[in-house]
Subunit: 331 residues, 2 copies
DNA sequence: CATACATATGAAACGGGTTTCAAACATTGA
DNA sequence: TCAATGTTTGAAACCCGTTTCATATGTATG
């Protein structure tokens, strides 16, 4: 409630001096410093961050734009980023925008209007709003790939390779009829994964068998039902992420279809939950923490940066667990 | 980048007129209005929310303080609250504080300094910081109970009754040796649940058998191992929440202990995940959406409020699914 | 046509920390 | 002792959208 001017009056100094004491921006004679500190303590003075932000034109805030706060993948990402932001003296501000372009536009605009210092863009729509192009604060794409005019850096994993690894693993494990549950095709990672599936099918002379699904438990269940009806011979499922894989497992279990004996299953992302499923989920892991670190670094330590567009692709690794048959030594 | 003064100059009017056009706070002659709108469009002007907040002393923001963004229970809550805030023209600002009192204090202070309009407090520690008492913005406790000097309203569910229902259900289903996995005892809901367990044990002349666990997958696994060692005769588990229940199931499954045939299991909260487990989790549901609505309402529509302390206890309901044996008609 | 009243509009103050600038004071060296 | 350099400090400007207040213009009534 109290302002710096009240504190100043109480301490018998100018507001400028109080500011200098608080921020250590200049020397203040010890005797006055003491008086100021006493006045601050006495009035429970908390400097108004809004006024500070207005002048400094920096809210010390990084915005994170994600499609869903209910999706554990993004929640895990947000947790990493939150910790990293805090370590660097920033706040993370979450924007939950679904796949609604209008909400995305609004989020960016709000961040700009709030003097945020950067945006990590982890959502995706088919229409990328112009507001990203002319965005006066730096934008880093995470878990997706945007062209240079939209983002100053892109951080993503080798989704294509991930799906290849998964496909080859399913084939190694003896699958003859693999169905791909495609993710939303406006999502970069989902497109890459599907492309790998398609390419492997093509190389091996297999027929493409796909269904499409949003990243959502409910839809995952429904789509799996459809899948079983449309492709009764299925013996392998490549799911677009772990959420959908877990939903698929649920349906298989209900139908008393044994996993991995009758149908083998691979997910993507290696979310915490994937080891909690029984049987544990075979999945493709991306180095989420390292990707989060890179994203934050691109926004915060942009000192000696070359102006060129930066792309960072991280390697993925297949984590064999219990929804596929073991291969190799333990066969 | 452009300011209201630049827009004003371009339109040949004063900043006040631009402000009036943007906010519709006063009549502006159509011809000038047009010029202003044109100038806004031409300069891509976005009003600086920070300056607005500074003057209005309101950021149109509600803070939400939660212990963990990784816990789906809080994530679901945040999702509801986010939607509600938006509907009412507010932003939700998330603070992930764990059980660290210092982080909680910092979160409250930051919200005050940012001119937030209210706080929903859903975290909990053993030390409640003084900063809550003298907090100049309204605080509502959600999923917990604070004394009147700390919060202007408390919204929680009948946790005690929930645990009683769960216990009675387990007993009805034939359990003779029920172990309670207690949650962190500084958490109100965890205390209530334990008390109900204790009371039922007492009433029925059963020995108390408890272990304690944080709300965390990893700890849930470890604690379940301990439990099986300490209480080998266990045939029923009352878990402090669904996360822990799911962890417990995982261990039981690994050990080839049949659920519900050998051990029956009840969780709490009915998170989305609980139907995704196979078998589906029997749990106690609280009306989360309604509770979120009540919390938001208490902060936003506090017009004709009586100054008295408000407590709202919501009813809970037992959701019988597959981790307990059916009773009643389907026995 | 003059008085009264409503409407439109800009200048200026405001909110509250921060920073610049210059004045005031202290210290060092000649 | 005086000039020169360094240090401390407060007044005032600044960030920028909003609002007040007074002026100016227009309309309605007598």
């Amino acid at each position: 409630m109290s302002s710096i001017r009240e504190v100043a009056k109480l301490a018998g100094v100018s507001p400028a001096t109080v500011s200098r004491v608080m921020n250590g921006t200049a020397n203040v004679v010890p005797e006055k410093r003491e008086r100021v500190l006493a006045a601050i303590a006495q009035t429970d003075f908390v400097p108004n961050e809004v006024a500070r932000t207005l002048f400094k034109k920096s809210a010390k805030t990084i915005g994170l734009i994600i499609p869903s706060i209910r999706n554990p993948y993004f929640t895990q990402l947000a947790d990493f980023l939150d910790a990293l932001a805090e370590q660097n003296g920033y706040r993370l501000s979450l924007y939950n925008v679904g796949r609604d372009p209008e909400k995305q536009r609004a989020a960016i605009q709000m961040l700009v209007a709030a003097n945020a210092d950067g945006v990590i863009y982890a959502a995706e729509t088919d229409v990328l709003h112009e507001s990203l192009k002319s965005c006066p604060i730096p934008v880093v794409a995470l878990d997706t790939r945007l062209s240079g005019e939209y983002a100053q850096a892109c951080i993503y994993a080798d989704y294509y390779q991930g799906a290849r690894l998964a496909m080859e693993h399913l084939l190694d494990c003896g699958c003859k009829s693999i169905v791909c549950i495609k993710g939303p095709q406006q999502v970069y990672s989902a497109r890459c994964r599907y492309e790998a599936y398609r390419d492997v099918c093509c190389e091996r002379g297999l027929a493409e068998q796909t269904v499409t699904c949003e990243y959502d438990f409910g839809e995952g269940l429904a789509v799996t039902e459809t899948l079983l009806e449309r492709f009764p011979a299925v013996d392998g499922i490549l799911a677009c992420n772990d959420i959908v894989a877990i939903s698929a497992y649920k349906v298989l279990h209900q139908r008393k279809i044994a996993v991995p004996q009758q149908i083998q299953l691979v997910g993507f992302d290696d979310i915490d939950l994937s080891t909690l499923l029984s049987p544990e989920l075979t999945t493709v892991r991306q180095p989420l923490r390292e990707m989060a670190e890179k994203a934050m670094e691109q926004l915060i330590r942009r000192d000696n940066e070359t102006e060129m567009k930066k792309e960072f692709m991280f390697p993925v690794v297949l984590i064999q667990r219990e929804t596929t048959k073991r291969r190799g030594t333990e066969q």
